[in-house]
C-alpha cells in the first residue's frame, strides 16, 4: 500500500507545519495588506490553518470526528464572517470612497 506507506510517513508534525505556514502567511497578509478585502482573505487563511489543526489533532488522537465537526463549524462561521466583513467593506467604501484601511482612521484619538 503505497498510500499506507505514505501516510505512515506523514505524521502530525507535518500537518502542524503546514498549518503554521498557512497561519503565518495569513497573519502576514492581515498585517501588511492595505486593502480591506486582502485582510479578509488573510483572515480566511488563518481560519483554514485552524481547521487543519483541528482535523490533524482529531485524526491522530481520539479517532472520533469531533475535530471534523468543528472544522465544518468554522467553515460555516467563515462564510458568515465573510458576508459581514464584505458588508462592512461596502459600508466603508460608501463612506470613504475607498477600501484602503489607512484612509479609515476616524477612530484616531
Amino acid at each position: 500500500m503505497i498510500m499506507d506507506g505514505l501516510l505512515l510517513d506523514i505524521g502530525l508534525r507535518h500537518f502542524l507545519s503546514v498549518s503554521l505556514i498557512v497561519f503565518v502567511l495569513g497573519l502576514y497578509c492581515v498585517l501588511t495588506r492595505k486593502n480591506a478585502i486582502g485582510i479578509l482573505l488573510g483572515v480566511e487563511l488563518i481560519l483554514n490553518s485552524a481547521n487543519i489543526n483541528y482535523i490533524a489533532f482529531s485524526y491522530f488522537s481520539s479517532g472520533n470526528y469531533d475535530g471534523q465537526v468543528f472544522a465544518i463549524f468554522v467553515i460555516m462561521l467563515a462564510a458568515a464572517e465573510a458576508v459581514i466583513g464584505l458588508a462592512i467593506v461596502l459600508g466603508i467604501y460608501q463612506n470613504f470612497s475607498s477600501i484602503d484601511i489607512e484612509a479609515v482612521d476616524s477612530l484616531q484619538g
Binding site: 497573519l27 492581515v30 498585517l31 489607512e102 482612521d105 476616524s106 484616531q108 484619538g109
Partner: protein, 727 residues
C-alpha cells in the same frame, strides 16, 4: 392697716381713659369720618366720665372706712420680680390719691367737655382727644401707682402726652420747638427722679432690712436710711434731692421752670389740664407721697423750701410785665407751684396738697376763661389788643373774676385759705425770711392778676373792627365748665378752714392718715391759736388789697402811669423782668450752645478720628485681601492649573496611541500575544517591579516628551500668561 381692702374696680379708673385713647387713637380718623366729631367727643368724654364715677366710688369706699384703715388696693399684674425687687402693676387709693383722682377725673372731665367747644373747628379733633384721654390715663397711673416704679411710668406718660399736646399744632415750628423744650427739660428732671429711686432702693438694700418700691412699705422702712452714706452724702438727703430734681422738672421750679411758659403753645384746654391743674402738680404730689423721705433730711427740706419760695417770687415778678394772656397765667402757675413746693419744704404737706387742689380749680378756670377770650378774639393772645370784653362775654368775665379773686387771696375764696395756710406754716415753722418772700409774691400775684382782668375785660376795646364784630360769648359747652370751676374756686377753700377762723380743717384731717408720723405731720394737731396768725392773715389780705388797688389805679383809672414803675432804676429792673431775667438766653448761651459745641466736637472727632481709623482699617483689609488674592491667583490657582495641565499633557500624549490605524492595532495585539507567551515563565516577584518600573518610565517619558514638545518652562506655570498659554 396691715390688710388693705382689695378693690378690683380701681383698675377701671385707669383703663377707661386708656381704652378711650386706644379707640380714638386707632379708629379716630374713621370715627370722625363716619360719625362726625361728636362720635369722638362722646367716646372721650364717656371714658373720662366713667373714670370719674369709679373714682367717686373708690372715694366713698374710702370714707366708709375708719381713718386708719383707709387704703384700697388693686393688684393688676405681677410685673418685675427680680431678687429683692418686687414691683407689681398695682393701684392704690389712700386719702391723698383719693383726692387726686377726683381732681384729675373731675377737672379733667370738665376740660374734656370744654374742649368739645374749643377744638370744634380743628381737623385733628380725634388726635386731640386721643392725647387728652391718654394723658388722663397716664396721670391716673401716676397718682394711683402703689410703687415708685409704676409712678415713674405714669410720670413719663404724662410727659409724653404733654410733649405731644404742646406741639399739637405741629405745622408751626415754634410749637414743635416748645414741645421739644418741654420734653428735654423734663428729661433732666426725670434723670434725677430715676436716680432718686435707685438710691432709695439700693441704700435700703445695703442697710440690710429689706427693700421695696411700694410706698406703703417704704414708710416703715425708710428710717433705716439714717446713717447710710452714698458718696459721702447721707443717703436720705441725696435721694430726696434727686427726687426733688425730678419735681423741679415736672412742677416747673427753678432752675427747670423755663419749659412751662413755652408750653403755652399748646391748645388752651391743654394748658388748663396739663400745665395748670394736673401734670405740673405731679412733682408736688410725688414729694407729698414721699414725705417720709423728705422728713428724714432737714437739708433737703431746706433746699426744697428755698427753691419753692424763690420760684414763687421770681415767677411772680416775671408775670408782672407779660402781655400775652396765657403767659401771665403760665408764670402765675409757676409761682403758685412755688407755693406748693414751699409748703412741702416746710413740712406742710397737707397745706401743699390743699393748695394743689384749690389751685386746680381756679387756675383751670382762669385758663379756660382765657381760652374762651382767645376763642372769641380770633386767636389773639396779646392783652394790649383786648379790653372791654365784660359786656360781650359776661359769663366768661364773672367766672374769670371769681377765680382771679380766689388766686389773689381774698377771703373767703379758695386761694386765701390754702395760700395762707402755707404762709402761716412757713412762718410758724421758723422760716420768717421764706414767709416774707411768699408774702411779697402774694402781693404781686394780686397785682398781675387784676392787671390782667382790667386789661382784658375793662376799658376800651383795642381790637380791630373785624375782630370786634365777631366778639361773642362762648357756647354753653365751654361756659358750663367755667361755671362749675368757678363754684369750685369759691367753695373748695372751705374744706380747709383753719381752726383760727373757727373751721376744723376737714382736708387736713382727711389727709392725716397719710402724713401722720412725718416731721411736719404734727402741725394739724396743734390747735392752739396764736395772735400772730391773725396778724399775718390780715397782712396777706392787706398786701393783696394793695396789689389790687395798684392794678386798679394803673389799668382801670389810669390815674397812675405804668411808666412810673417801669422807669424805676433807669428801667433796668423792668427790662430784666420783661425779658424774664434773660434766663432763656442764659440757658441758650450755656446749655444749648454747650450741647451744640459738644456735639460739634463729637462730629469733628467722628469725622477725623473715627472715620480715619475706619477708613484705614478698610484700606489695610483691602491690601491684605489683595495680597491673599495674588497668592490665591498665582500660587493656589497656579498649582491647581499646573496639575491639571500636567494631567492634560500626559493624557494628550497617551491619546496619540489611538492612531485609528488598524494595522498598528494588529501589530500591537500580535506583539502583546507574543510577549505574553514569555511572561508566565517569569516569577511574580520580578514581574511586578518590572511592570511598575515600566509604567513609571512611560509617565516620566510622557511628561518629558510633553514638556519638550511644548517648549514649556516651569516658571510659566506660575504666571498668568504662562497658564493661559498652556491652555
Amino acid at each position: 392697716m396691715d390688710h388693705p381692702l382689695l378693690v378690683s374696680s380701681l383698675r377701671w379708673i385707669v383703663l377707661f381713659p386708656l381704652l378711650g385713647a386706644v379707640i380714638n387713637g386707632i379708629l379716630g380718623a374713621k370715627i370722625q369720618e363716619r360719625f362726625g366729631k361728636n362720635g369722638i367727643s362722646v367716646v372721650a368724654c364717656t371714658a373720662v366720665g366713667l373714670a370719674f364715677i369709679f373714682a367717686l366710688r373708690a372715694f366713698f369706699q374710702l370714707t366708709s372706712l375708719v381713718p386708719e384703715e383707709r387704703y384700697l388696693l388693686d393688684t393688676l399684674l405681677r410685673w418685675i420680680h427680680i431678687g429683692a425687687l418686687q414691683v407689681d402693676i398695682a393701684f392704690a387709693v389712700d386719702p391723698l390719691s383719693g383726692l387726686m383722682i377726683l381732681i384729675v377725673t373731675g377737672i379733667g372731665g370738665l376740660i374734656h367737655l370744654y374742649s368739645i367747644g374749643y377744638m370744634h373747628d380743628d381737623e385733628a379733633y380725634w388726635r386731640f382727644f386721643a392725647y387728652l384721654n391718654l394723658f388722663t390715663a397716664a396721670m391716673l397711673t401716676l397718682v394711683l401707682a402703689d410703687n415708685l416704679v409704676l409712678m415713674f411710668v405714669g410720670w413719663e406718660g404724662v410727659g409724653l402726652c404733654s410733649y405731644g399736646l404742646i406741639g399739637f399744632w405741629y405745622k408751626e415750628h415754634a410749637n414743635t420747638t416748645a414741645g421739644n423744650k418741654a420734653f428735654i427739660v423734663n428729661r433732666i428732671g426725670d434723670a434725677g427722679f430715676t436716680l432718686g429711686i435707685f438710691i432709695i432702693f439700693w441704700s435700703l438694700f445695703e442697710a440690710g432690712h429689706g427693700t421695696t418700691a411700694v410706698f406703703r412699705d417704704l414708710g416703715p422702712l425708710i428710717h433705716h436710711l439714717e446713717g447710710q452714706m452714698v458718696w459721702g452724702v447721707p443717703a436720705a438727703t441725696l435721694a430726696a434731692l434727686c427726687l426733688f430734681v425730678g419735681a423741679t422738672g415736672k412742677s416747673a421750679q427753678i432752675p427747670l421752670y423755663v419749659w412751662l411758659p413755652d408750653a403755652m403753645a399748646g391748645p388752651t384746654p391743654v394748658s388748663a389740664l396739663i400745665h395748670a391743674a394736673t401734670m405740673v402738680t405731679a412733682g408736688v404730689y410725688m414729694m407729698a407721697r414721699m414725705h417720709f423721705l423728705f422728713s428724714l433730711s432737714p437739708v433737703a427740706l431746706g433746699v426744697v423750701a428755698t427753691v419753692g419760695a424763690l420760684t414763687a417770687l421770681v415767677a411772680a415778678t416775671i408775670g408782672l410785665a407779660q402781655f400775652d394772656i396765657k403767659k401771665v397765667l403760665a408764670y402765675s402757675t409757676v409761682s403758685q407751684l412755688g407755693y406748693m413746693v414751699l409748703g412741702v419744704g416746710v413740712g406742710a404737706y397737707g397745706a401743699a396738697v390743699f393748695h394743689l387742689m384749690t389751685h386746680a380749680f381756679f387756675k383751670a378756670c382762669l385758663f379756660l376763661g382765657s381760652g374762651s377770650v382767645i376763642h372769641a378774639m380770633g386767636d389773639e393772645q396779646d392783652m394790649r389788643k383786648m379790653g372791654g370784653l365784660r359786656e360781650k362775654m359776661p359769663l366768661t368775665f364773672w367766672t374769670f373774676l371769681i377765680s382771679t379773686i380766689a388766686i389773689a387771696g381774698i377771703p373767703p375764696l379758695a386761694g386765701f385759705f390754702s395760700k395762707d395756710e402755707i404762709l402761716w406754716l412757713t412762718f410758724s415753722g421758723g422760716h420768717p425770711l421764706l414767709w416774707l418772700i411768699g408774702f411779697a409774691a402774694a402781693g404781686m400775684t394780686a397785682f398781675y392778676m387784676f392787671r390782667q382782668v382790667f386789661m382784658v375785660f375793662f376799658g376800651e376795646n383795642r381790637a380791630d373792627e373785624h375782630t370786634k364784630e365777631h366778639l361773642h360769648e362762648s357756647p354753653p359747652v365751654m361756659t358750663y365748665p367755667l361755671i362749675v370751676l368757678a363754684v369750685g374756686a369759691v367753695f373748695a377753700g372751705f374744706l380747709g378752714v383753719p381752726p383760727a377762723l373757727g373751721g376744723s380743717n376737714i382736708l387736713e384731717h382727711w389727709l392725716e392718715p397719710v402724713f401722720a408720723g412725718g416731721h411736719g405731720g404734727g402741725h394739724a394737731a396743734h390747735h392752739h391759736v396764736e395772735v400772730i396768725e391773725y396778724v399775718l392773715m390780715v397782712a396777706s389780705v392787706g398786701i393783696a388789697a394793695v396789689g389790687i388797688f395798684l392794678a386798679y389805679l394803673i389799668y382801670y383809672r389810669q390815674s397812675v402811669s405804668a411808666g412810673t414803675f417801669t422807669a424805676v432804676g433807669g428801667g433796668v429792673p423792668y427790662r430784666a423782668v420783661f425779658n424774664k431775667y434773660y434766663v432763656d438766653e442764659l440757658y441758650h448761651a450755656t446749655a444749648v450752645r454747650g450741647t451744640l459745641a459738644v456735639s460739634w466736637l463729637c462730629s469733628v472727632f467722628d469725622r477725623n478720628v473715627i472715620d480715619f481709623i475706619v477708613n484705614n482699617v478698610a484700606k489695610a483689609t483691602g491690601a491684605v485681601g489683595w495680597a491673599v488674592g495674588r497668592f490665591d491667583h498665582y500660587i493656589i490657582d497656579g498649582l491647581v492649573n499646573g496639575l491639571a495641565d500636567v494631567i492634560f499633557g500626559i493624557g494628550n500624549r497617551l491619546r496619540q496611541i489611538q492612531t485609528g490605524n488598524l494595522s498598528i492595532y494588529l501589530y500591537v495585539i500580535v506583539g502583546a500575544i507574543a510577549v505574553s507567551q514569555f511572561l508566565p515563565r517569569v516569577g511574580a516577584d520580578i514581574l511586578v517591579p518590572v511592570v511598575i518600573a515600566f509604567l513609571s518610565l512611560v509617565i516620566v517619558v510622557g511628561i518629558a516628551l510633553w514638556l519638550s514638545t511644548r517648549r514649556i518652562q516651569w516658571r510659566l506655570m506660575f504666571t498668568k500668561e504662562g497658564v493661559s498659554e498652556l491652555r
